[in-house]
């Protein structure tokens, strides 16, 4: 870990202004991912701005009939909130399938959105990684690489990493928006699709956040009626990242929405795939995974995604 300076701020706009002003600054809240990355020297911030005192730790109703989740609400608190459990069950289920109880107590909503990939090559600073060191090359795309966990769609010739969040997959299927404050104090609202960027030639750019811009809240629209389900498939029963996960909201008439985790650099959802839901899992995946470019080791994810959705659809 490299030496860094540290400050606490009490106001989000002030935090954003400071982050734009101080070179190589990062926000820190729960630190459940950032501290690990700093120890490995995958992230080397020169300055940490502790946003824990900015008061963004409340869940409040919105005028539109939804919920505003403060960026500092812990994963544990969010998953246990009775309004979330009642009206946004897919989110609660996704949250409790992630990490461990201890981590969920510490991890925040904003931090969860910003967690980095778990690609083994990203984590090994002895290996070339375009995400870690732009232009260095990608070990995961070399011959002989171990890619069983990695992405099958939305990837590029520069990077095939996935986004590891479960929460973000549920937020995606809920049409949640990310609220931010920019370094000039402007408030922005971004859909998850706008928020997350595909790797293309710049896998180091993962979000649409501008210099200094800070997540202040996640906005949930009014509740979506229907069955809320989240199925996370993993090798062991708990405390593992998804091989594939499926978030589903399905109305009694069979229509609904589907998003996938564990397959792409961001939560993966398409309108035409949603529209195919009444026709079953195969029809959904034909659209949702159209254009997939799996490796030999992770091609199973294509079948697994379809079968996981089929399992959910077969459940009462």
């Amino acid at each position: 870990m490299k030496a860094f300076s540290y400050e606490r701020v009490s106001d989000p706009a002030q935090a954003a202004a400071r982050a734009a002003e101080v070179p190589v600054a990062k926000f820190i809240a729960g630190g459940t991912n950032l501290l690990d990355l700093m120890k490995h020297e995958i992230e080397i911030p020169k300055h940490l701005i502790d946003v824990g005192g900015t008061g963004l730790d409340e869940i409040t109703p919105t005028d539109e009939g939804g919920l505003r989740i403060g960026a500092l609400v812990s994963n544990a608190a969010l998953s246990a909130d009775t309004r979330v459990r009642k009206d946004y069950a897919v989110l609660s289920r996704a949250l409790v399938s992630g990490a461990s109880g201890q981590l969920r107590n510490k991890a925040t909503t904003g931090g969860n959105l910003l967690q980095r990939t778990r690609c083994g090559y990203f984590y090994d600073t002895g290996m070339p990684c375009n995400k870690r060191s732009p232009g260095a090359g990608c070990a995961a795309l070399s011959k002989g690489a171990a890619t069983r966990q990695l992405g099958i769609i939305g990837t590029s010739d520069a990077c095939i990493a996935t986004h590891p969040s479960d929460m973000a997959v549920a937020l995606c299927v809920l049409d949640a928006e990310v609220e931010t404050v920019t370094s000039t104090g402007e408030i922005r609202r971004l859909t998850l699709d706008e928020f997350y960027q595909l790797p293309g030639d710049t896998p180091e750019v993962e979000t649409a956040l501008q210099a200094g811009e800070m997540i202040t809240a996640v906005l949930l629209p009014p509740p979506v009626e229907g069955r809320h389900a989240y199925y996370k498939v993993r090798d062991r029963a708990s405390y593992a990242f998804a091989l594939v996960s499926v978030a589903l909201i399905q109305a009694p008439d069979g229509t609904g929405r589907v998003a996938l985790g564990g397959v792409a650099p961001k939560p993966w959802r398409r309108d035409d795939a949603d529209a195919a839901l009444p026709q079953g899992a195969s029809a959904v995946m034909a659209r949702l995974l159209d254009g997939a470019r799996p490796t030999q080791e992770n091609a199973y994810k294509l079948t697994l995604a379809e079968r996981t959705l089929a399992a959910l659809l077969a459940q009462e």
């Binding site: 069983r148 990242f241 697994l304």
Partner: protein, 729 residues
């Protein structure tokens, strides 16, 4: 004390302490954080510095350039020692790869420098400032290529009867190839040492190690100093599983750091280095052929395997148990350890058998099905009471059939699912599987010293407790032998100042070390008898009784200490015998019919391992083995980058050991057996028996649940997803 023949009826057959359940006596210290582990020994040496290792990022080649000037100038840094400043260190017999020194890189994450600083963060921060340039050499890292090249070559280690004729004549045969993955010990406590070699003279090492004398000798060889100048302490070990049998880079780097700075230095291997710098269990590819008559009697085995090792290592000998586990007159087995540039493979819990039985016991299941036999009945039919290669060599105590029968009864085997893929509960397919278990029961010379002080007994031996319960069973042994209560006995372990023991490994520790303590106690009894001028004395209730004498042990010596020391030496007579431990594992799994996720629902092990010294600690050993077996079956596999030559998933997020949610109800039954040829206590080890066969039992249960036969570990869902039932409704 020499143990030159099977023991007769003795005090342990009428035991009051041995064989009884006693909670682990170090348990309270551990759960309250008062059992100090190596890296936490802040108390033992003042002014400690922290060392952080730097490791190679190529698998094979030469370091052409290292520049440590920036690291040396970094805040808090006291010293930087690079591998280029040193000649390659002498290599102890127990090590295959060089631990440090010289320009040659033999494997990924080989230690190439250590940075010593006031704090961990300063050392770690400076470590990344060291510039390294390499000349990379081409390496071979793909076991599949090696298998293609090597199978059917070389000399078999056993070739009995006429295997080819037996196969040609057999009405039922099996010929399949299987694969096991490389695995990490993944123990909770990393390799860690504090070394004080400040004056370059006496070296003191506080470390986490299973084998005190081996490691002391390895240090002496490595640094070319007299072993008498080295003191090693390892009183508590947070898991070893074979990964801490040897001297590793942590102690070597700390020693250099200490000599250079003149202060004690501590080094722990960061988790990623444990996968690629330390040792692991090699993956294997194994071909198994079995021939049988239509009556189900096996006529021939052929078992060949390849595993990887660095040059000079022995790999993972997965074929050995096939030589004697089941009957059959003709057998040929061959092991091909292949030199590859992956990190050093070495022993891990049940080395050989864990991988070999993972395959043999699936093959047995497949064979039973071909024969239309119940897999339990098939194994019973092919039991042997003699070594089938040398029928003149009997098994001393082999109650494998009883394990099978008792297991079947207790598990409810008769009610199992009979048709593969035939039982379903909702979206889950339910299956049952079983496997046999076999592991040798080696013993090693083991010594101890006992001190009687005012009626209290202190036991000193360099035996280690790696979470196994050594403190407890040695206390029981001494209390039993001396007729004392356990609270009047204090056992001190893991210190090179104490007599040399067997150490912990190969499931020889409990058997050997208890016998060594027994020998020392008998020597003490002889001294006491001599002091009392009697030929024979009885020791009971804290007293010594001989003729007219009946006095408390506290009163014998007027406050003076009586010290006795002895070793147990096991005689050659064992060479004429087969001494083993046996077991049967039964498992129920649920496999998701849609996704292929496998969840173990219940497990039963029945073990025949001689006298069980303490049913609580023994059960803990067995369920630990079963848990590790679940990992081996379902999740644990180090992913090889076959071009770059390293294990990619080198942390505990990427390498998935079983977690609580993976482990269901576990039941362990110990047969009430003794083995008089094993030791004075008639005991044998259980620590490795517990893992043997578990993975195969799970694989067989997956087959029973789904009808899908997977012959490659770990049995992750991607290996079956294309064969699962259609999801059409």
């Amino acid at each position: 004390m020499d143990f030159n023949q099977s023991t007769e009826d003795n005090l342990f057959d009428h035991a009051r302490v041995i064989g009884k359940p006693h909670a682990r006596i170090d348990g309270l210290l551990k759960v309250t954080g008062r059992a100090p582990y190596a890296y936490e020994r802040h108390d033992v040496a003042a002014n400690q510095l922290v060392g952080y290792p730097v490791c190679a990022t190529i698998a094979r080649g030469k370091i052409t350039h290292m520049d440590a000037s920036a690291a040396r100038a970094a805040p808090g840094v006291a010293a930087v020692i690079t591998t280029l400043e040193l000649e390659p260190l002498a290599r102890a017999d127990s090590n295959v790869a060089h631990l440090f020194g010289g320009a040659t890189v033999e494997h990924y994450h080989q230690a190439i420098a250590v940075v010593v600083a006031d704090t961990l963060e300063q050392a770690r921060g400076a470590a990344s400032l060291i510039e390294v340039r390499y000349e990379e050499a081409k390496g071979v890292f793909d076991l599949e290529d090696a298998w293609t090249r090597l199978q059917s070559t070389g000399e078999p280690v056993a070739n009995v009867g006429d295997v080819d004729a037996a196969f040609a004549a057999a009405p039922v045969t099996l010929d399949e190839t299987y694969r096991t993955a490389s695995q990490s010990h993944a123990m909770m406590e990393p390799h860690a040492s504090i070394v004080d070699w400040s004056d370059g003279g006496q070296m003191t090492v506080w470390t986490s190690n299973q084998m005190i004398q081996w490691t002391r000798q390895a240090l002496a060889t490595t640094f070319d100093i007299d072993a008498g100048r080295i003191r090693l302490e390892s009183p508590y070990v947070g898991g070893g599983f074979g990964g801490k049998l040897w001297l590793r880079a942590d102690a070597v780097l700390a020693a250099f750091g200490s000599r250079e700075t003149g202060r004690p230095v501590k080094v722990a291997l960061p988790r990623p280095m444990i996968f690629n710098n330390a040792t692991h269990r090699s993956g294997t590819i194994q071909r198994l052929r079995i021939a049988a008559g239509s009556d189900g009697k096996i006529t021939a085995f052929e078992h060949a395997a390849v595993s990887h090792t660095l040059l000079g290592g022995s790999g993972e000998d997965a074929v050995n148990q096939t030589r004697c586990f089941y009957a059959g007159e003709n057998r040929r087995v061959a092991h091909h350890p292949i030199d590859m540039g992956l990190p050093e493979s070495a022993d891990m819990r049940a080395p050989g058998e864990a991988s070999g039985l993972a395959v043999l016991e699936i093959a047995m299941d497949e064979m039973a099905e071909k024969l239309g036999m119940d897999p339990v009945a098939f194994r019973i039919l092919n039991d042997t009471q003699v070594n089938p290669e040398e029928p003149s060599k009997p098994f001393t105590e082999r109650h494998f059939v009883e394990c099978l029968r008792k297991g079947a009864d207790n598990f409810g085997w008769a009610e199992r699912n009979l048709k593969p893929g035939g039982r379903r509960e909702g979206q889950w397919l339910i299956g049952h599987g079983m496997a046999g278990a076999y592991r040798g029961a080696p013993t090693m010379t083991s010594g101890a010293r006992v001190r009687l002080q005012n009626g209290r007994l202190i036991v000193e031996t360099d035996m280690t407790d790696i979470g196994t319960g050594s403190y407890t069973i040695l206390t029981q042994t001494a209390a039993e032998t001396m007729g004392m209560e356990m609270q009047d006995v204090e056992v001190r372990l893991g210190n090179s100042a104490y007599p040399t023991s067997s150490g912990s490994g190969g499931q020889f520790g409990a058997t050997s070390a208890t016998a060594g303590v027994y020998a020392a106690c008998v020597a003490l009894q002889q001294q006491i008898a001599k002091r009392l001028n009697v030929d024979e004395a009885r020791f009971e209730k804290g007293r010594v009784v001989a003729g007219q004498t009946d006095m408390a042990l506290a009163d014998i010596a007027d406050g003076e200490e009586i010290v006795a020391e002895d070793s147990i030496n096991f005689g050659d007579f064992k060479d004429e015998l087969e001494i083993g431990t046996f077991g049967a594992h039964f498992v129920e799994v649920a496999v998701n019919a849609y996704t292929g996720e496998t969840r173990v629902r219940r497990m039963l092990a029945v073990c025949d391992a001689g006298r069980i010294l303490n049913p609580i600690t023994a059960r803990s050993q067995v369920i630990g083995g079963m848990t590790m077996g679940v990992g081996a079956a379902l999740t644990e596999g180090m992913s090889v980058d076959t071009e770059r030559g390293f294990f990619v998933n080198h942390d505990l997020a990427g390498y998935e050991v079983a977690v609580h949610a993976d482990i269901p109800e576990q039941e362990v039954i110990f047969l009430d057996t003794t083995d008089a040829a094993s030791s004075p206590l008639k005991a044998k080890g259980v620590g490795e028996l517990g893992i043997c066969g578990v993975a195969a039992a799970i694989g067989n249960a997956i087959y029973n649940a789904t009808g899908i036969r997977i012959r490659e570990y770990p049995m992750t869902l991607d290996r079956m997803i294309d064969q699962l039932p259609s999801t059409e409704r």
